[in-house]
Symmetry: C2
Subunit: 117 residues, 2 copies
C-alpha cells in the first residue's frame, strides 16, 4: 500500500467528515499519527489486511469526491493567487512613501493574510 501522505492529508482535511467513523479513526492514526498498518491492527485487535481495506475504501471515497467536485484544487488555485497578490502589495509598500497609501496597503496585506488562514 503506497502512502500518499501529502495528497491524503489534504483531502482528509476537506472531506474527512464524510468518511465513516472507523475510516476517520484509521486515517488519523495512519496519516497524522504515522502509525504503521501493523501497529493500528494490533492496537485495534484486527488484521493488518482489515486495516488496509478500511484505509483503501476511505482513500477511494476521498479521491472520488475530489474528482467529482474539484474543491481542493479550486482552494489551492485561490491560495496561489492570494500569494501572488500579497507579493504585489509588498512591492507597492516598498515603492511608496506616502503615509496614507502605506497605511491602506498595510491593512490590505493583513486582510490578504487572513484569507490564507
Amino acid at each position: 500500500m503506497e502512502k500518499h501522505t501529502f495528497e491524503m492529508t489534504l483531502l482528509f482535511d476537506f472531506y474527512g467528515d464524510l468518511l465513516t467513523g472507523k475510516q476517520q479513526e484509521y486515517f488519523d492514526l495512519y496519516y497524522n499519527g504515522d502509525l504503521s498498518l501493523s501497529e493500528i491492527a494490533e492496537a485495534d485487535g484486527i488484521t493488518r489486511q482489515g486495516v488496509r481495506s478500511v484505509l483503501k475504501r476511505g482513500e477511494d471515497t476521498l479521491t472520488d469526491i475530489e474528482e467529482k467536485t474539484g474543491l481542493v484544487r479550486r482552494f489551492g488555485e485561490q491560495r496561489l493567487l492570494v500569494a501572488g497578490i500579497e507579493a504585489q502589495v509588498r512591492t507597492l509598500l516598498e515603492k511608496t512613501a506616502e503615509p496614507e497609501t502605506r497605511a491602506l496597503a498595510g491593512r490590505i496585506l493583513e486582510d490578504l493574510q487572513s484569507l490564507g488562514d
Copy 2:
C-alpha cells in the same frame, strides 16, 4: 415541499456531482429549470410523490455534506473578505497620484477580481 432555491442551487453548484444521476436530473429541472413537481412527474412518467422523494433525498444529501464540511460557508466568507479588500484597493487608487503605485494597485485589483470568478 418548501422550495429553498437560493440555498439549494448554491449547494448543488458545489456538491451536485456527488448526487445520483436521477437526483441531478430532477434538481436541474426543479431548481434551474423551475419546473413543478407535477411537470417533472409527467415528463418522466412517474408519480409526483416519486419526484418529491428523489428531490428530498438529494436535498438531504447536499445539506448533510455541507453540515459536515462547511465548504460552501468557507467559500462565502472568502468572497466577502475579497470584496472588502477590493474596496480598500479602490480607495487606495483614489488617494494616490503616484503612477507606479497606481499601476501596481490596478494589477492587484484585476487579480482580486479573478479570485472572485
